[in-house]
């Protein structure tokens, strides 16, 4: 995976965010989204107990107690607030997060995702992934479209462990952005160097154009 693809995905996702949105950014590509938010007034929530997360601290501002869910040190914006883990996940499960941006390993044709278990690794970590999948008003997943061996991550049915019954709204890759309606996959935006026909062929699933 080259850095450019990740940045393309992050930038494209940032376009989806609107003024006033409460957003939770997962680890990996989702974290990069914050670089492209620009002037939009977006409120970042981190599930370890903070609403109103700011950019990484300068070296002299570092407080190692003040971290995001990926354990990186952060800062706070004016109007931020702190709370405990039960309240934080109440915020998540209770549909108070407008957009969760999450990494993913696979997405099926209905938008169900697998984003927590690592292939061929024991299943010993889930963190807040499933709560975000279950509870955010809108879930956008971020990933490169193909695995290292070239097979698509958009699949007929999941081969890895599902993150929950909830279907995500959008899948943003370095080539195109996909949305899901019933059993239809729509390509709503192509911005990479593969055409609609090429994407269709390489993914091997029926795709519709918006």
């Amino acid at each position: 995976m080259n850095l450019d693809s990740r940045e393309i995905i992050a930038k494209r996702i940032a376009q989806e965010l609107k003024d006033g949105d409460v957003v939770n950014l997962g680890i990996g590509i989702p974290t990069l989204v914050s670089k492209y938010i620009g002037d939009k007034k977006v409120y970042l929530q981190t599930e370890n107990g903070l609403l109103g997360m700011g950019p990484p601290p300068n070296e002299d501002e570092v407080d190692i107690d003040l971290i995001d869910a990926g354990k990186a040190t952060v800062t706070i914006m004016p109007g931020a607030s702190f709370f405990d883990s039960a309240f934080s996940f109440g915020m998540i499960r209770g549909n108070h997060i407008d957009v969760a941006v999450l990494g993913t390993l696979e997405v099926d044709r209905y938008g169900e995702i697998a984003n927590w278990s690592v292939p061929n690794q024991p299943i010993l970590g889930v963190g807040g992934a499933m709560d975000l999948v279950a509870g955010a008003k809108k879930v956008i997943v971020a990933s490169t479209l193909f695995t290292k061996d070239g097979s698509p991550k958009l699949v007929e049915s999941l081969t890895l462990d599902s993150s929950g019954e909830r279907r995500v709204e959008q899948f943003v890759t370095e080539y195109a952005s996909f949305t899901f309606q019933e059993s239809d996959i729509f390509i709503d935006d192509i911005y990479g160097d593969l055409s609609f026909e090429e994407l269709k062929e390489r993914i091997g699933l029926p795709l519709k154009q918006k």
Binding site: I64, R93, Q121, G164
Partner: protein, 228 residues
């Protein structure tokens, strides 16, 4: 202050096979001084309830290395490489819960709620063997409350009665665990007079706190270092 102890005085509270609730997310909000002592105390065979098993060689990591943990309930152990190896050898029993389910279960344990229904993890491998119930058209999973024998938590300040406030994201699981164990031990950075904490701002009322110890750690730039 009646509840103040030197950490060494607390050894006799710990017995083999106890279930311990340990606060912290990564190292933030982790009672490092208490856990250093726990690694040295005689008792062991603990069942640990904690988001993870320490980080970066600190916290629960030391207790684990001392061979005192036989079971862990939490949400994210992948970062604890030694724990993963022990699990694969069958030396460590692990129960994985989504982080929000873990937090809610502990809160319920402290609040006298027997169990609850969460939409999280329905339709996943973590729902296997668990009851599913539809309520108003939504499918939920039943989860039991969690309580512990001893909670080891970290706060920023305690007043001399034991009222607690926390610092930024170091709050995390600590206030929940304070309510959910028979005995609650808190490690603090600072002890202040009764009346110095604003009654509106106290997160954990003193009645939840049994013992207070002063932390031997302080923050220096990007690390926690021992300073006393």
């Amino acid at each position: 202050m009646e509840k103040l102890r030197n950490v060494e005085e607390l050894a006799s509270l710990f017995k083999d096979n106890m279930r311990l609730l340990v606060g912290g997310f990564g190292i933030s909000g982790t009672p490092l001084t208490l856990l250093d002592a726990l690694a040295k105390f005689e008792a062991g065979n603990y069942e640990i309830v904690s988001n993870n098993l320490g980080d970066d060689g600190k916290g629960l990591h030391k207790v684990f290395e001392a061979g005192k943990i036989t079971k862990a309930i939490g949400s994210f152990f992948t970062i604890n490489k030694e724990a993963v190896i022990a699990w694969s050898k069958g030396e460590l029993d692990i129960s994985l819960l989504p982080q929000g389910t873990l937090a809610e279960a502990i809160r319920c344990g402290g609040a006298g709620i027997g169990g609850f229904y969460t939409p999280t993890a329905v339709g996943t491998r973590l729902a296997e063997g668990k009851e599913i119930r539809e309520i108003d058209g939504v499918r939920y999973l039943f989860e039991k409350a969690i309580k512990g024998d001893i909670a080891l938590i970290k706060a920023s300040k305690a007043d001399k009665a034991g009222n607690l406030v926390y610092h930024t994201t170091a709050r995390n699981f600590n206030p929940l665990m304070a309510t959910a164990a028979e005995t609650v031990i808190v490690e603090v950075d600072e002890i202040v007079e009764i009346g110095e904490l604003n009654p509106e701002e106290i997160v954990t009322p003193h009645i939840y706190v049994d013992y207070v110890i002063e932390s031997k750690y302080t923050k220096q730039g990007g690390a926690y270092v021992e300073f006393r």
